[in-house]
Symmetry: C2
Subunit: 289 residues, 2 copies
């Protein structure tokens, strides 16, 4: 079988972001960690880590990490059946889209994580990047808008999140007093989550507008809402994130009646053990509107 001490060292270096901290985490010296990584690279005949611009696994390193994480999950099930086997608190690395993390995610998984003593490594990603991380073995599961499962995994539908085009009342008055018209879209700054964010484009297309528009880029859910509240722009915001602010009239729709529904899917490897099964059950019980 593989020498899992070597894979454990690799996982620690990647997780801790450095050799010294990996040593601290495993109770080993930095040079012992370096030695293990070197041994792994000699056996494979190729590098498992790239050092620049930041420390990161190579494609081969990622495959090893994926394997190590899946073995850890299976070990956990084994230690249930054989309680005398020593086993650490399981770490589960999961890619989650930012808006879910800022709203319903923690409440949905909190009880299970407490009961099972599981700790999470959350990775915040756009949907495509999240699925790629799953394929590369960098995460054990992924929550995103893509319905298409990758090979060996399955996609569980969780419902939809509803996005509204929101701004402050003053902003709407200044830019959209004549409604969602082309001239307004050409002038009024929007707020967009990132260069890959298609929500704004979908909204504009739904309004029949296909031209250029000025926009702020803000890749953080709460920051996005703060920019809207500061009157800097309008943007597509999940209704559930701002229920209270909508009720209080702090944010209003610049195009009443317009909304975008974004479906969410939970992607996980088949046969990855009971913990993922139970997490999938907990998420399956969520009913997003």
């Amino acid at each position: 079988m593989l020498d899992y001490k070597l894979l454990e060292a690799l996982a620690a270096v990647v997780e801790c972001g450095g050799f010294e901290r990996a040593g601290e985490a495993l109770g080993l010296s930095q040079s012992a960690i370096s030695q293990r990584i070197r041994t792994l690279e000699i056996r494979l005949g190729q590098p498992v880590l790239v050092r620049t611009p930041t420390l990161a696994p190579t494609p081969v390193g990622r495959q090893l990490l994926n394997h190590a994480r899946r073995v850890q999950l299976l070990e956990r099930d084994l230690s249930r059946a054989l309680p005398t086997l020593e086993s650490e608190a399981p770490r589960l690395r999961i890619a989650v889209n930012a808006d879910s993390l800022a709203t319903w995610w923690a409440e949905a998984v909190g009880v299970l994580c407490r009961e099972e003593g599981v700790v999470l490594d959350l990775v915040v990603e756009d949907q495509e990047v999240g699925l790629r991380r799953l394929r590369d073995g960098d995460v054990a599961a992924c929550l995103c808008a893509s319905p298409q499962p990758i090979a060996g995994a399955r996609a569980l539908p969780l419902g939809r999140m509803s996005y509204l085009p929101l701004a402050t009342p003053a902003y709407r008055e200044r830019h959209f007093s004549a409604g969602p018209a082309a001239e307004a879209f050409r002038q009024a700054p929007a707020i967009v989550f990132g260069p890959n964010d298609q929500l704004q484009h979908r909204f504009l297309a739904q309004c029949g507008y296909h031209g250029p528009f000025p926009y702020h880029l803000c890749p953080a859910s709460e920051g996005f809402v703060r920019l809207a509240l500061a009157g800097m722009g309008y943007g597509m915001i999940p209704r559930m994130q701002v229920e209270r602010r909508l009720a209080a009239g702090e944010l209003v729709s610049i195009a009443p009646g317009q909304a975008l529904e974004v479906p969410l899917y939970w992607h996980s490897w088949r046969h990855s053990g009971q913990l993922i099964e139970r997490l999938s059950e907990a998420l399956g019980a969520v009913s997003l509107v």
Copy 2:
């Protein structure tokens, strides 16, 4: 002088995350964009972009982008003096730490951005990465906890953010009923922003604890608070982010009297034009507690 059409194409490719979208943004075909990038690379004798794992500028590409962005800022000042000169809405690319973005940032800069018609490209980064981006020329300014200006830039102190070790009352009761003791820290899951986040370690050291501890990793400000609210762990949260939840008793300190003060500094290039000057003034007027 340099051929700025080429630099503009490079900036668009990086900003839009692809050749096709860059073409759309500039009203050019994808092949025209490719041709400009190729011309730039032939003149320089080296690549300005790496294509894998994701499209990103090379170190030389970043230097060019930095230069182009600084020229754009200076052009903006010129177009003020010569109003007949055509000039687009300025785009300002800034690295901001996540907790500032989730709290006071937008309100501090909102009025200025509206008045000046400036749109922001916000990059959310740990402090060290933010400063490196400034040095590499990837951003025009950076908000972070490091007091040390890099060469050619200056660092303006903005005050401090106060972080408290918070959890739900039920979580405190379950894990910290005997106070912040070593045994509790060894068992109770913490929430940590990322592998480079030193706040949790500083807090534990302040409590006299230096051993291992279980933790969730959650690299998103609002998600972090949500994990704490779901009873999944305790974590260092900016007081100003959760004033209302503290007042309502939804979150409580697991170590009353303990807090960490994180200073914030605004780093910007010297001589980068009036817009950065005015932004610095607006930020200088902020009084963080």
